[in-house]
């Protein structure tokens, strides 16, 4: 998959602006997603990474309008192809779902209804949006075509989910996700529960289908190695904030944000054993985040300014944004000094 071509389209299909999501708890609101903004371009694959609990799944569910109570969207704007999702009425939202935004769920193992045949679960979403279909034969052909896209055999058409393997269920979810050719597909850790071989196959299937159908894709995951193989850009989240969005080559070759650096550094290597550096420093209480930069408590380069001012997103180059004071032009010297001291900038 190294022949990955950069996506060059400049048309924004999904524009997330200032999105904030809280979980209400008796001890106060947990800030799961804190004022994040990003763009997804047409035909692009965006990887969303971060530690567990950093808010990547919540971001996805926020975009899909699926935040479950006690979570709620505080403010923000989500535009898909010019449609403001947050302003849709109940029935409009129902119709918009799956045609505008579709989901490839986290636990494919349990995401299919155990008492419905695979075909019925695909047919029901088609009929919910396109009306009752009289022509059963055409429907069959259409589903077989979807199966073929994701590499599923036709014989599973009449099977129940428990008769399929984990990889097959995941493919069914992918086939289902692209059935209506949505504008944006969100794959929420779609490969987490699978072994590495099946993971790779499923990930490749995902990209193949995406290219064939021409949708834009957000892939959420914590497997940086796998993401490096399939995405165009990577968005790194930390404690509900988006700290860096960069083209995938830049992230691995030249990570800018200190957190991104630590994250890349923590990828396990088969060749050598190395200690984990990222545990240094303390994590904050998500109900009561620190002032200024969210990462300053764990950041090796933090100084007074970080505690006073929240770093704004800085455009370092096209489609590459980083939220760190080091990349502010007035702190150029400090950056040069900081990066000289690290062994692996």
């Amino acid at each position: 998959m190294s022949q990955q071509k950069r996506n060059d389209s400049d048309r924004v299909v999904l524009k997330v602006d200032n999105l904030r999501i809280h979980y209400a708890t008796p001890q106060g609101n947990v800030i799961a997603v804190s004022d994040i903004s990003f763009n997804l371009y047409e035909g692009e694959t965006l990887g969303l990474v971060g530690e567990s609990g950093c808010g990547k799944s919540t971001t996805a569910y926020g975009i899909l309008q699926l935040v479950q109570p006690p979570g709620y969207i505080v403010h923000g704007s989500i535009e898909v192809d010019g449609t403001e999702v947050l302003n849709l009425g109940e029935e409009e939202l129902r119709k918009f779902r799956w045609t505008g935004l579709s989901l490839i769920p986290q636990g494919a193992m349990n995401s299919l209804n155990p008492t419905m045949r695979v075909k019925d679960q695909i047919i029901d979403v088609i009929e919910a949006h396109e009306g009752k279909k009289r022509d059963k034969e055409a429907m069959r052909e259409r589903i077989f075509e979807l199966f073929q896209n994701v590499g599923l055999p036709n014989r599973i058409y009449n099977m129940y989910p428990h008769e399929l393997s984990g990889g097959m269920k995941q493919r069914v979810c992918i086939a289902m996700g692209v059935a209506l050719h949505p504008t944006v597909v969100i794959a929420d850790e779609a490969t987490s529960a699978l072994d590495v071989v099946v993971q790779r196959i499923v990930a490749q299937t995902l990209i193949k289908v995406k290219d064939e159908i021409g949708v834009s894709l957000i892939v959420i995951g914590h497997d940086m190695g796998l993401l490096a193989q399939i995405v165009d850009r990577i968005a790194v989240m930390y404690a509900g904030k988006m700290v860096e969005i960069a083209p995938v080559e830049n992230v691995y070759a030249n990570p800018l944000h200190p957190y991104t650096q630590l994250l890349i550094d923590s990828i396990p290597s088969i060749k050598e054993r190395k200690p984990l550096k990222i545990t240094e420093g303390i994590t904050h209480d998500p109900r009561n985040p620190p002032s200024g930069c969210i990462f300053r408590l764990r950041c090796p380069f933090a100084w007074d300014h970080c505690a006073e001012v929240e770093p704004p997103p800085i455009n370092v180059e096209e489609k590459h944004v980083v939220a760190c004071h080091l990349f502010d032009e007035q702190f150029e010297e400090r950056r040069a000094h900081a990066y000289a001291t690290t062994a692996n900038p």
Partner: protein, 381 residues
């Protein structure tokens, strides 16, 4: 392949047809025939019943009946005295004096075969059951038990069947609506209020209904399963009359049971709401009502079916009392009459038939389980 001779095919059985059972090869062959008639093939795996399982399950069913029949045979014989002497004693008590009572007792004992060794009596008894002959009612001689039961059983099956259908449907629907997040608030207040009857016994519910709707308001008849002077038959008049008479007894059963099912269903629905496939169903933009019945109720109903099979025995107990209150001419009333008249033959017969029908109901629910839950396949292991 020539059909083997099946001796039991010659039996003519009217009240219950599951006794066309003899042992050995012919039965198995017959079962295979029945099974293939219903399209059950050998070795069906997914979502079906394998023939092997079907045969084993039926054997267990017949074993249950055999054990029941044997216990019913043994228990009365452990008590001192015998039914003939007791009956003659009762006659002489009523008439003041019975001539030649000793001779009568002897003659009747001979007539009913009570002088034979126990094992001969036992085999005669089992043989009788296999042919649908449950012996004579002692109190209403020469009426046979089969005759009396045949008259009462359809009423009880009708009453219990309809009541079960109503409380299972209404109960589960109420439970589902209690848990559904789109149910109007009014329902969520009204349903729990209507469940207060759940904690009172069916006996009291029956009395309460009888007093209110039959005695005070006079909307429904107080007793019996159809009006005096009606000729039983499939006429609209008669059916309407039966429904009119059956409403209160059925309501008495429904009132005290449906709340239990509603609570169970509500719990299951809450569990289902947390499942991953519910989030996907929401993301898919399916219509809410479709999600309710195809994703939620469809999955939540499965454990309820199991619970139904388990509770059938208890249900029958409640029905006996309700029938007595409404003097409904079903099995419950028949049993109580038999007990009151010390009619041993009838007590044995009615007990046996009640056990048989309960076992049959459980068997049917058991066998239908793979049809409603595709994950369960009843395969012989």
């Amino acid at each position: 392949m020539p059909q083997p001779h099946l001796p039991f095919q010659t039996f003519k059985i009217t009240t219950f047809n599951n006794f066309s059972f003899s042992c050995g090869e012919p039965v198995i062959l017959k079962l295979i025939d029945i099974a293939s008639d219903y399209g059950i093939e050998k070795g069906i795996g997914m979502g079906g019943i394998s023939l092997n399982y079907l045969v084993r399950r039926l054997l267990v069913f017949f074993l249950t009946l055999w054990v029941a029949a044997t216990l019913i045979f043994i228990i009365p014989r452990l008590a001192p005295g015998d039914p003939i002497s007791a009956m003659v004693a009762r006659l002489s008590y009523q008439a003041g004096f019975v001539e030649n009572s000793g001779a009568i007792i002897e003659a009747w004992k001979e007539r009913f075969g009570l002088n034979d060794p126990v094992y001969v009596q036992y085999f005669r008894y089992i043989g009788g059951i296999l042919q649908g002959d449950l012996g004579y009612s002692l109190a209403r001689f020469p009426a046979t038990v089969t005759e009396l039961v045949g008259r009462a059983l359809p009423w009880t099956i009708g009453l219990v069947g309809i009541a079960t259908f109503i409380f299972f449907t209404v109960g589960n629907l109420c439970g589902a609506l209690l848990a559904w997040n789109r149910t109007p608030r009014l329902f969520k207040v009204l349903i729990p209020m209507s469940m207060m009857f759940t904690s009172i016994p069916p006996l009291l519910a029956g009395l309460l209904l009888s007093y209110t709707f039959a005695f005070l308001l006079g909307w429904f008849p107080q007793t019996y399963s159809y009006g005096f002077g009606m000729t039983p038959g499939l006429t609209l008049d008669f059916i309407a009359n039966v429904i009119h008479h059956g409403t209160l007894p059925a309501m008495a059963i429904v009132l005290v049971t449906f709340g239990y099912w509603a609570l169970g269903m509500r719990g299951m629905m809450v569990t289902i709401e947390g499942e991953d496939y519910m989030i996907l169903a929401q993301a898919k933009g399916l219509k809410p009502f479709y999600v309710l019945y195809r994703y939620m109720i469809r999955n939540a109903i499965l454990p309820q079916m199991t619970a139904l099979a388990v509770s059938i025995g208890t249900l029958v107990n409640g029905v006996v009392l309700v029938e007595v209150i409404f003097n409904y001419n079903g099995m419950g009333t028949l049993i109580v009459t038999a007990l009151r008249e010390q009619d041993f033959g009838l007590i044995q017969g009615t007990s046996f038939i009640l056990i048989t029908t309960s076992a049959l109901a459980v068997l049917i629910i058991d066998l239908s389980y793979p049809l409603i839950d595709p994950r369960i396949s009843l395969e012989g292991r």
